[in-house]
């Protein structure tokens, strides 16, 4: 069965994906809302920046993050000033990198959900005395629930599956930054194919069932 090292990697991966997903739902919602509603000329620019991780090699993203978060980077200087030290090669650094890396997988489903809802439900809520915040929580959130579920599933699964960015920003420190994908790489390098099989097979099944759950879900409410 799984060795302690392998279990630690699984545990770390789940922890990273959970924290990243929660942060992304909080950060991604206002970004998606803004993208869905704005008529600003910046919409295209912000939308493109959010979507960049879809096409960039993870090493490129990881490289820039490494520089920005490093001791001489702008973010690194700030974190040192605040007494947090530098983030690369720490779990916190992995979370930051994962948030950027999985951003489009959360923002895009949310944006689509918000766009599908349109402005009418908000107008209706306003004529029924609901303030914009009130309307967001009592009308938009329930109506966008399928979008939030999709966003959470994709964000989680994509974070579980990351490799290149982790390697660039986190390295390979057991119980701190060594996630499943890196552990598989190590097993293969060491010709430990049996261990690699176990983890790789697990990832395959996990990914398949996540996507199965995603694609067999039916939309609940449609706005009429």
């Amino acid at each position: 069965m799984l060795s302690d090292v392998d279990l630690a990697a699984v545990w770390l991966t789940l922890k990273l994906a959970t924290i990243t997903t929660m942060i992304l739902l909080i950060v991604g919602t206002p970004i998606a809302w803004w993208l869905a509603r704005t008529g600003s000329k910046w919409k295209g620019v912000i939308g493109a920046v959010v979507a960049l991780p879809l096409v960039l090699p993870p090493t490129v993203l990881g490289f820039y993050l490494l520089i920005a978060l490093g001791p001489h980077g702008p973010v690194g200087q700030l974190t040192q000033l605040l007494g947090w030290g530098v983030l690369p090669f720490t779990f916190a650094g992995l979370v930051v990198a994962s948030v950027f890396y999985s951003m489009p997988f959360v923002v895009q489903p949310l944006q689509q959900a918000f766009e599908a809802i349109g402005v009418r439900p908000l107008e209706v809520a306003a004529t029924l005395r609901a303030s914009p915040w009130d309307a967001f929580f009592t009308v938009v959130l329930p109506l966008a629930k399928p979008g939030f579920i999709t966003a959470a599933i994709l964000g989680f699964a994509h974070t579980v599956g990351e490799f290149g960015v982790v390697l660039m920003i986190g390295g390979n420190i057991p119980e701190k930054t060594r996630v499943v994908s890196v552990q598989i790489y190590d097993h293969v390098e060491a010709l430990e194919y049996a261990e690699a099989h176990l983890l790789a097979g697990g990832m395959l099944l996990f990914s398949f069932f996540v996507l199965l759950a995603l694609y067999s879900r039916k939309g609940t409410h449609t706005w009429k």
Binding site: P121, V124, A125, T127, L128, A130, L143, T220, H221, K224
Partner: protein, 363 residues
């Protein structure tokens, strides 16, 4: 524009979009049903949205019952959710994730003070008691719209805005809802602004009419006077006619007729089911009215009224004219040929006999 003493809604709006400008300055009565009437693209929905505060780009001034809701010059804009109004959209727009009961409660529980309209009353008025536990997707189009109207009423609005609430419905559903709207008019003392492009709907429901063309209010006034005006754009005169409010006075069982009395006289229509004393509105199209110098004998037309010519105007074709007459206080419009105008020497002040071929009852 006429300013009536009981006008309590002062609305001045300017909305400029590429290819469309709304520019109105209105005084609307604080009671009864005001129809915002015009063809599509005339700006009537935009005006309604301005009243509700839903049009972000609307520049202007709005005072309701002494409270200033908007004064762009002074940077005042009360957001929609702080205005005591109800709004019924063209499509019912019920919240799909809430049951009918929760849809009705949504607005009601957000209003703290003065439930003038009880939920039970709104439910009873719209006849939706049997729907309360259903989800919106289990309702027919007509039922959905009735729930939407009840939902707006349940907030006890001080002003009810309705944007063609019947437009998305077929004729059968329309006839299903119209009686409820009439009850609303008769039973509740809430001023209503009602957007419509259908003359018959306006004639049936409205007390006051604002005619809109290309973003401008070309006429505003009481229903009868406004519809009987001859100086309106031809877009409206092609369907010219008047609305008369009458009382069921007598049933003639032998000929299956019913006599309707109104200030200017009386007319006979095919036997009605309404009881004596019931109030009815009917519409007389100008094209169904002809004129004669004397009371015609030996004619099959039943309805003849004496009237005096007050005004003559061009009609929609050069061959025709519109003649406005006064039948003892009730205005009538006849559409006759220019040739007949000369033959009969029709001039203002001349007494004539009006022959009405047909009337359209609006109930």
């Amino acid at each position: 524009m006429e300013i009536t003493p009981d006008s309590i809604i002062q609305a001045r709006f300017q909305v400029i979009w590429p290819g469309f400008t709304l520019d109105v300055d209105l005084e609307l009565p604080g009671r009864g049903v005001t129809a915002l009437f015009g063809h599509s693209g005339s700006g009537k929905t935009t005006l309604l949205r301005c009243l509700a505060g839903l049009e972000q780009h609307g520049h202007g001034f709005l005072r309701f019952k002494g409270a200033v809701w908007q004064d762009s010059a002074r940077g005042i804009f009360r957001p929609t959710h702080q205005r005591p109004l109800g709004y019924v959209f063209q499509e019912a727009s019920l919240f799909p994730h809430l049951s009918v009961r929760n849809n009705l409660d949504y607005g009601r529980k957000r209003v703290n003070s003065g439930h003038k309209v009880s939920l039970d009353h709104a439910v009873e008025l719209l006849g939706i008691g049997y729907l309360l536990d259903r989800m919106p997707d289990r309702l027919s189009g007509g039922e959905r719209q009735r729930v939407a109207i009840a939902r707006a009423l349940a907030t006890s609005p001080e002003l009810l805005l309705m944007d063609e609430p019947l437009a998305a419905l077929d004729l059968k559903r329309k006839t299903e809802i119209l009686p409820y709207l009439e009850r609303l008019h008769d039973e509740l003392k809430i001023p209503v602004c009602y957007v419509s492009h259908l003359p018959d709907e306006v004639a049936r429901l409205a007390d006051y009419v604002v005619l809109l063309t290309e973003g401008r209010a070309v006429a505003a006034g009481g229903l009868r006077e406004t519809l009987a005006r001859l100086d309106l754009p031809t877009a409206f005169t092609e369907d010219a006619g008047v609305v008369i409010e009458a009382v069921v006075a007598e049933h003639d069982e032998r000929y299956y007729l019913t006599r309707l009395d109104f200030p200017g006289g009386s007319i006979f229509v095919a036997r009605r089911r309404e009881t004596i004393g019931y109030k009815l509105r009917f519409r007389v199209h100008a094209r169904d009215v002809s004129l004669a110098l004397t009371r015609a004998e030996g004619t099959s037309i039943v309805n003849l009224l004496p009237a005096t010519v007050t005004e003559i105007a061009d009609a929609d074709t050069p061959a025709h004219v519109l003649v406005r007459l006064n039948a003892d206080g009730t205005p009538l419009i006849a559409r006759i040929t220019r040739r007949s105008l000369d033959h009969l020497s029709v001039v203002p002040g001349k007494p004539l006999w009006v022959q009405i071929k047909a009337v359209a009852l609006l109930t």
